[in-house]
Amino acid sequence: MLLTCTDVRKTFGAAVVLDGLDLSVDEHEVVALIGASGSGKSTLLRCVNLLAEVDDGTIELDGEEITNPKINPDLVRRKIGLVFQSYNLFPHMTVLDNITLSPVKVHGRPPAEAKAQAMEWLSRVGLADKADSYPDRLSGGQQQRAAIIRALVNSPRLLLLDEVTSALDPELVGEVLTMIRDLKGDGVTMILATHEMGFARQVADRVAFLDRGKVLEQGPPAQVLGDPVEARTRQFLARIIEAGRL
């Protein structure tokens, strides 16, 4: 297993967000996290990236317990990429500088080499002409694709995608989803929290339904989304269908 979360608990004051959650992810696997707002999808991703501290339980990456407080979080984060719902590109840097910041400053790669690699990625997703632009000159879809590249250039063991299409206009969602589909083809291990059920069905190897801080049900997309076992999963999917999102 690449990632194993065991009995993870996370509270914010009186609110229990993760309540003994178990989840494991295999290498090259794509796991889609679905569930209502507040079911703990984003919190789980933040815990895995150590941006949030767990209140109990363990998370292991490559067999190493990363929730151990003695571990240096910076070293763990080098192995994990995170893409945010609101892109979070650095507005004072060009797209290229956004992407090469971590390779150069954290991984000590020669700037020329990091730049060449970034350009390769940008050309691959059709953004080469935006390399020297500042993020506010890009559309949401372009910004998000640049943010995905930024999280990817260090070849992380695991890529976390936190509702990466939720802030996008509907006609821009496609370009980001296409990119993620390509990454799956490259064998990138991903956990994606998403509201795009149709996309989860297409790209995920496994769908996990989060409810009340636990993984209530998980399995192949066709089963979880098409023929759920749990009543609460059915209720959730019924609401999604009602809203016209499936």
Partner: protein, 285 residues
Amino acid sequence: MTEDSLTVHHPSELQLGRIAYRRGKAIRSVLVAALSTAVVGTLLVVLITGAPGWQRVKTSFLDVTIARKYLPAILEGFWLNVRLFVVCAAGALLLGLIASVLRTLRGPVFFPVRALATIYTYSFRGLPLIITIYLFAFGIPGLRLQGTPDVTVLGGAAITITYGSYIAEVLRAGIESVHPSQMAAARSLGLSYRQSMRHVVLPQAVRRASPALLNDVVSMQKDVGLISLAGPIDAIRAAQIASAESANFTPYLVAGVLFVLFALPLIGVTDFVTLRAARRQNAGT
């Protein structure tokens, strides 16, 4: 849209009418502005030159021969103000940067530095600059320590430390205005707290704080004149000496004009930066 704009467009009758109407209105506004300026200007001149004491004020404040006679001495003093300003501004910016970063450090280890930085910004923003200059320029030499620098350096240090505390607070506000998600994004890329501050948070903070920062620098530009209280002969002290010699206030006016002239480019830059910042903010994303 770009293809549409390539076709030649002839404005309609209606649009031509609008253009003519707007042009007429613009001409009228210019005329009204010119007229009201002339009226206000004339009134001011009449009011001041018609005042009963105008002749006396004119001879004691606006004596051209006295101005010409003492200008070189005042200019020489002003050179001290200029040099002092450059050194103090650089020092205060550096000091402010350090204090503001120290105040944002988290973790119990940093409690003493955080507390010190807080005490510093609170006390020196409250303490009148004049008193700080007196304390530094006359208090420190009073200790009779070996190697005490001269009063110009001590007075300059007082100005630097006082303005450093203002600048620290402006920068801290700038740091705190950068959304936490920027820090999260930086940390998620493996950057350490220090690297995130240096490459991601501080550059944005300084940009956002730059109008307020420049405003402090403009304000400092005139406050370097307070160095005269410590004794060295700067523009104001030179004017005071000239004024005592000539029994006339004109030298003060000369020094004042020099300060204004020196401030003008800085004020211009400040206005430009503020305008640009506002425009960028309104552009929004």
